[in-house]
Amino acid sequence: MDKSFIINGKEVRVQDFKHSHDTVTFSYEGKNYFYSLISRDGHEMILDDKGGRFKAAVATANRDGESMVIAAGKEAIIAEAGKKMKKAGSHAGGLTSPMPGKIFKILKDAGSEVKKGEPILILEAMKMEHSIRSDKDGKIKKIFFKVGELVQGGVTLAEVES
């Protein structure tokens, strides 16, 4: 059976995925992979890929169903496709928060005209202020938060339509 994963935001689809007992097998990009679990201790494990053994570790999944996974020295954020939830407040084409923080000031109201580069609101994070600027000339369609609200990183804060 085919199975899809979202790895660092990109979809990766594998074929003939089987997970039985302590082995995982699948094929990907024309190559067959065979892994066996040698040992595990909490979040950490030793895997064997027939070529050799390597260390891996998988973090507790977050609320979006994503886990940090480390395998053979590579690190990625992975979710099984379908399990990953849509992030709250994500809107296409809007202005997003560069980091988790607090809405410090709203400089423009919804409905007002803005020029490209003009600050719309100020986000406070790590005790620093970050201006969120319009990415185009246009009219503010919506501002999704109020002053004082806490926001996650990567969340749409406002939408501007030209």
């Binding site: 302590d22 890929d49 973090a59 053979a72 990567g154």
Partner: protein, 494 residues
């Protein structure tokens, strides 16, 4: 008087750092913690630990009255402020001394002098310390500031007079950005340091950030512990620091260290300090600021000189002479510090938050991980995103780099996105290896520092690991086929 019990008015790795030396000296240690930090090691591993309650920083780690009350109640005779928080707050230093408690730091007068970036430059002009062209005046009207910025000539740097750590700092390249930048720096200064006074300076192109570690006692001894190269920065936050500075002649090294000592002597300083200089590509250097505290990156100096700077601080605070002479302080080998931040360097350095499932432990010799977290603790948005400092010593720079890269692989923070891989890319970059460091290294090499594409094999291994973690029950026989796989593999904690 011998100090017998120290209260550390700080949190995280620096609280643990002070605790460690105090224990080496047979001194009891008291720590304090905000309620949201109560599971962190600094709250757990001291002789005594007291809650500062919860709420804004002003109610917890910045609550001067509460800190002094706790100190008196628990019978500590000294307060170590660490770095940040109240370490450079003259009012706190005064209150501590007035309460009959030793402040492990400089006199309040030195804090006032050097904390005011304008006042400090005026004082240093008198003793002929080289300064960058700038405006340090008291007239803080927008009109005057704008006029002065134009006089100095773009690019100029605007910064909060009481600032540090990149807060309240702006570079301006043209008229159109000027007013907004002045107002932004003022507003950030007011918020972070309770002062909206700003200064303006000429911005040196491709400068190096070179600083000198100083230590002064109350018997007229002013020593330097050589320089540190801290040019690798993002948004004015240091990322990689090392000593000795590469590509620096011994003559320049001694000259810049001597200049720093002259400053300490000139202001009759007491305790630990760092003088930060901007060094132009031609080797000329200008005084930037003097930090009147222990710095985050002090361990690299400890690694190459063998000195314990916290111990020196404590000795000086109790009135002892420094236990070494200048001629006995030597640089041996190379040390590099990598600051491990909870952030995603490949996504505009966005801070990350979450629960740390596991912290990896370095295994090589002469490698130190100063970390304020434990397995299972949370990283939130309320404090600085620095998780730990990886400090590595090598016989030479090449070895210090290769050992650092190896150790970065080991010190995983499972569950929270960090800049570990990014740090490896910096250390492996040809210009870093060649010692061509300047403060725009990160933005200038943005393209080179992008992550390598993952191969199909990498992706397959990641998928396998995730899949195994999702299967909850396994037969015991499958996990005991090897007696102890950890003995043949290094890296993870076991």
């Amino acid at each position: 008087m011998k100090i017998k019990k120290i209260l550390v008015a700080n949190r995280g790795e620096i609280a643990l750092r002070v605790l460690k030396t105090a224990k080496e000296m047979g001194i009891k240690v008291v720590t304090v913690y905000a309620e949201d930090d109560k599971n962190l090691p600094h709250a757990l591993f001291a002789d005594e630990s007291y809650s500062l309650g919860s709420g804004a920083l002003s109610e917890t780690y910045l609550n001067k009255t509460k800190l002094i009350e706790i100190t008196k109640r628990c019978g500590a005779d000294a307060i170590h402020p660490g770095y940040g928080f109240l370490s450079e707050n003259e009012e706190f230093a005064r209150m501590v001394e007035k309460a009959g408690i030793i402040f492990i730091g400089p006199t309040p007068e030195s804090i006032v002098l050097m904390g005011d970036k304008i006042g400090s430059k005026k004082a240093l002009e008198k003793i002929k310390i080289p300064l960058t062209p700038g405006y340090h005046g008291d007239d803080q009207t927008d009109e005057t500031l704008m006029k002065e910025a134009k006089r100095i000539g773009y690019p100029v740097l605007i910064k909060a007079s009481a600032g540090g750590g990149g807060k309240g700092m702006r570079i301006v390249h043209q008229d159109s950005e000027l007013l907004e930048s002045i107002q932004g720096a003022k507003s950030e200064g007011l918020k972070s340091f309770s002062s909206d006074k700003v200064l303006i300076e000429k911005y040196v192109v491709n400068p190096r950030h070179i600083e000198v570690q100083l230590m002064s006692d109350t018997h007229g001894n002013h020593l330097h512990f050589f320089e540190r190269e801290c040019s690798i920065q993002r948004r004015y936050q240091k990322v990689v620091e090392e000593t000795p500075a590469p590509n620096m002649t011994q003559e320049t090294r001694l000259r810049i260290c001597e200049t720093a000592v002259e400053i300490a002597r000139g202001i009759n300083y007491r305790g630990a300090a760092t003088v930060e200089f901007i060094m132009a590509q031609d080797g000329n250097y200008y005084f930037m600021e003097m930090n009147t505290r222990l710095q985050v990156e002090h361990p690299v100096t400890e690694m190459v000189t063998g000195a314990d700077l916290v111990k020196c601080q404590i000795l000086v605070a109790q009135g002892d002479k420094l236990p070494m002479k200048q001629s006995e302080i030597k640089q041996k080998g190379q040390a590099i510090e990598c600051r491990i931040y909870a952030e995603d360097p490949d996504n505009n350095f966005m801070p990350s938050i979450g629960k740390i499932d596991t912290i990896g432990v370095p295994t090589l010799r002469d490698v130190r991980l100063d970390c304020g977290f434990l397995d299972g603790t949370e990283v939130g948005v309320n404090y600085d995103p620095m998780l730990a400092k990886l400090v590595v010593w090598g016989e030479n720079r090449e070895l210090a780099i290769s050992k650092s890269i190896h150790s970065l692989d080991e010190v995983l923070f499972l569950g929270v996105k960090t800049n570990r891989d990014y740090l490896k890319r910096i250390l492996a970059h040809k210009d870093f290896v060649d010692g061509h460091t300047h403060t725009h290294f990160i933005p200038d090499h943005k393209k080179d520092l992008e992550p390598n594409e993952m191969t199909a094999d990498d992706l397959a291994s990641l998928i396998a690991a995730l899949s195994f973690s999702q299967k909850k029950q396994f037969h015991s026989s499958s996990t005991s086929t090897l007696s102890n796989p950890w003995t043949s593999l290094s890296g993870f904690r076991n």
